[in-house]
Amino acid sequence: MRLSRREALILAAGGALMGFLPRGASAATVDEAMAAFAEGAALGEGGVEISAPEIAENGNSVPVEVFAPGAVAIAVFADGNPSPGVAKFHFGPLAGESRASTRIRLAKTQNVVALAKMADGAVVAARREVKVTIGGCGG
């Protein structure tokens, strides 16, 4: 994921703002949701991978895998869904590696974003676009 300076600033500001909100307040936008997970950490690049099909035949079930060596947690967001949160994976001491797969709903073509939190609190991000096709046959 490449963050422009401006985006990074917005994220950082979002993170600061989230600090004042009561815990558990629902995050309305993807930026706010990401900032809440990052807990003020600047978003780095590299060290987290997202695997997903380039084109999903049906947005109801899109296979997604996230992998971040050494991460204690990975959060997945979908920036074009009505609500951006997808899942947060917390890896315990017996996790073989910090990797998980699931199937997700994507309302339309959009970015899937993964944020991985390392043991020292550093956060890295990756983003991947998934095109969701609109079928001709609703039957």
């Binding site: 895998e65 997808v86 947060k88 017996l94 073989g96 990797r99 797969s101 709903r105």
Partner: protein, 109 residues
């Protein structure tokens, strides 16, 4: 489907220190809370599996906080490092308070 039923695929044997792959699936409609009833026009209340936990002999492997964007019949694949024989426990928590659990034994040696 009335009652949620889990399915788990995990090896029954492994070598000490081996990393094994675990796949889990549970039947659940994952009603997102975003859909409207086509007849009444009213919003269908959210009812999802909101949490999944995988442990081995009481120690955490993976915990997932789940949002409505996870597909119906939630599927998770992950790995665990096993040093000794024991039991994997898997737990799914429903919005309505129901808890679905299952377990798989593994022999390590």
């Amino acid at each position: 489907m009335a009652e949620s039923k889990p399915r788990v695929k995990a090896p029954k044997t492994a070598k000490p220190g081996e990393v094994v792959t675990i796949k889990t699936l549970i039947s659940h409609e994952m009603e997102s809370g975003q859909r409207k009833d086509s007849k009444t026009g009213e919003l269908i209340p959210r009812k999802i599996i909101n949490r999944f936990e995988a442990t081995f002999e009481g120690q955490e492997i993976l915990t997932v906080d789940i949002d409505p964007a996870v597909s119906a019949n939630p599927y998770f694949e992950f790995s665990a490092k096993v040093e000794r024989s024991g039991t994997f426990k898997f737990k799914w928590v429903d919005d309505d308070g129901s808890v679905y659990e299952t377990e798989n034994a593994i022999t390590v040696g």
